[in-house]
Symmetry: C2
C-alpha cells in the first residue's frame, strides 16, 4: 500500500462507493456509522471529485435510505444514490414488462408508477419476512405459467449479517426459483455490468477515471473491474481475511477503511 503503488489513482475524477459495510454497519437501530466515513464523504466533495453511492439495498426506497444516511451524518442526496429498484423500473418500462413483486413492503413505493396488472414477469428483491412459503409458491406459479418465464432479481447476494444473526439474501431465493422453473434470472444491481454503467453515467465519469470502493470482493470489486474500473476493498463490513486469497478477484488495493482510501487518493491528486 506504499504510495508508489497508487500512480494510477492520479487519473481519478470520481468515486463510486458501496454503502453498507463502507459508510455504516447494519445494526438493531438501523445502523452505526463506520468511524471516519462521514468525514471522508465531506472530504471527497470538498476535493472536487465526483461521488455516487452504488448500493444493492432493496429494503427501502431511496428517499428513506437517504433519510437514514443523513440522520447518521452523511451529506448525501437522493440523486447521489444508484440502487436496483429504479434501474429495474427503467428496464420494465423499456421492455413493456408488468411485474409481480416479491419484495420488501418498504420498497413497493418505488414501483408506484409501474403497471402491475396481469403480470408478465416476477421481480424479486430482498423481501425478508415476505419470503413466506405462500408468497414463494405464488411467484413460482406465475413464472411456470408464462410461456417464457422472466425473472428479474434485484441483486444476487448469498447472505448478509444483521445484529440478530445472518440472513439469507435475495440470491438464495433467486436460485430456488431458477431451479424450479428451469430459467435464468436477469440480475439488476451489482455485479451486473449494466448496473455499474448506470452508476457511472450518473457519476458523469468514464470507467478509467473512476474508482469503486466496497467491502464485497465479488459484487463490488469484481463487478467494477469487469466494467474497466479500478476497485479497492475496504477491511470493514463483510470483508474477511480469506477474501485476500480469492481465486478469481484481486482488488487494485486493500485499505483499512474508507477514510484511509480517501487519504491516499487525495494525496495522489
Amino acid at each position: 500500500m506504499a504510495a508508489g503503488g497508487w500512480g494510477w489513482a492520479r487519473a481519478v475524477r470520481g468515486l463510486l462507493l458501496d454503502v453498507s459495510g463502507v459508510l455504516y454497519d447494519s445494526g438493531a437501530d438501523g445502523g452505526v456509522p463506520i468511524a471516519g466515513s462521514a468525514e471522508a464523504v465531506r472530504r471527497i466533495k470538498a476535493s472536487g471529485l465526483k461521488l455516487q453511492l452504488c448500493t444493492n439495498e432493496t429494503q427501502a426506497t431511496r428517499e428513506d435510505f437517504v433519510r437514514k444516511l443523513r440522520a447518521m451524518g452523511f451529506d448525501i442526496s437522493v440523486a447521489e444514490v444508484t440502487a436496483p429498484a429504479p434501474a429495474a423500473c427503467r428496464l420494465l418500462r423499456e421492455r413493456g414488462l408488468r411485474p409481480h413483486l416479491l419484495v420488501h413492503d418498504d420498497l413497493v413505493p418505488e414501483f408506484a408508477e409501474v403497471d402491475k396488472t396481469n403480470p408478465n414477469c416476477v421481480v424479486l428483491g430482498d423481501a425478508a419476512e415476505n419470503f413466506t412459503y405462500a408468497n414463494l409458491n405464488e411467484a413460482f406459479r406465475l413464472l411456470i405459467g408464462m410461456e417464457k418465464p422472466v425473472l428479474i432479481s434485484l441483486g444476487k447476494g448469498r447472505y448478509y449479517k444483521e445484529t440478530d444473526g445472518l440472513k439469507l439474501d435475495v440470491g438464495a431465493y433467486m436460485k430456488a426459483l431458477e431451479y424450479a422453473c428451469d430459467v435464468q434470472a436477469e440480475v439488476v444491481g451489482k455485479p451486473a455490468k449494466r448496473f455499474f454503467e448506470s452508476a457511472l453515467a450518473e457519476l458523469g465519469v468514464p470507467p478509467e477515471q473512476a474508482i469503486m470502493i466496497g467491502d464485497d470482493i465479488v459484487n463490488d470489486v469484481g463487478g467494477a473491474q469487469q466494467c474497466g474500473m479500478r476497485a479497492l476493498q475496504v477491511r470493514t463490513g463483510k470483508y474477511r481475511p480469506s477474501d485476500e486469497n480469492h481465486p478469481e478477484v484481486k482488488p487494485d488495493a486493500y485499505v483499512n477503511n474508507l477514510a484511509e482510501a480517501v487519504d491516499i487518493i487525495l494525496q495522489q491528486l
Copy 2:
C-alpha cells in the same frame, strides 16, 4: 409398444413402482386411486413377481403412508415401501451425523431414534408450511457455522401438483441453501443411485432382472436406468407429452398406465 419389442421383459423377477402418479393422484382428500392400479398390484403379487414401492414421499411416516394406500385399496405393507427418511437415518447412523431437521411435522417420528443434540448436519425434506423465512434462516445459520457444512436433502424435485395448485418441492429449497453456503447437498431418494440400490436390495432382485415403473422421466426413469435397470414411463401423474422428447432420458417403453404395464409384462412370462 408391440409385444415383439418387449423380449427383454422375459427376464424380469421384480418390479419397483413409484407411488404418486402411478398408484394414485394427489387430491384434496389425500388422493384418488388411478383406475386399475389396485388390481394391477394384486396381479403382480399373484404372478409371483416381487414388488417394492420406491417413493420420494417425505410428508408422512411410512406407517401413515401405507395406511393411506391401504384405505385406497392397495395391498401394501410397510416393508414393501422404500422411502428417503429411513434411508437417511441409516446414513446418519453410519457417519455419526446428528441432524437438524427441516422437514414436515408428520415426518419427524421417522427420526425418533436419531440423536439430534448439537447438530452437525442439516436434513431437508419437503417441509411444506414449515418452509418459513425463520426456519430457512435457522438451517442456513447452522450450515454456515459448520467447518464443513453437510446438507442432506430428501429428494431434489422441482415442484409437484396439488389440487390447490403447484407447490415448490424440496429441490428448490435445497438449491437456495446450496448457493448460500457454497456447498453441494447429498441427495437421499430418487434419482440417487444408492437409493435405488437400497430398493433393489429390499426387492431381493438384481438390477438386470428388475423394472422400474414411474411417471417422472428424470427421477424415476433416468435414475433407474443409471442403476442398470429397465424403466417404463406411465402416461399418468406428472407425465407430459413433452417428456417423450426429453434430451437425455429415453424410457425402455411407454405405457398408458400401470395396469397396461402389468398386462404386457405378465404376457412375457
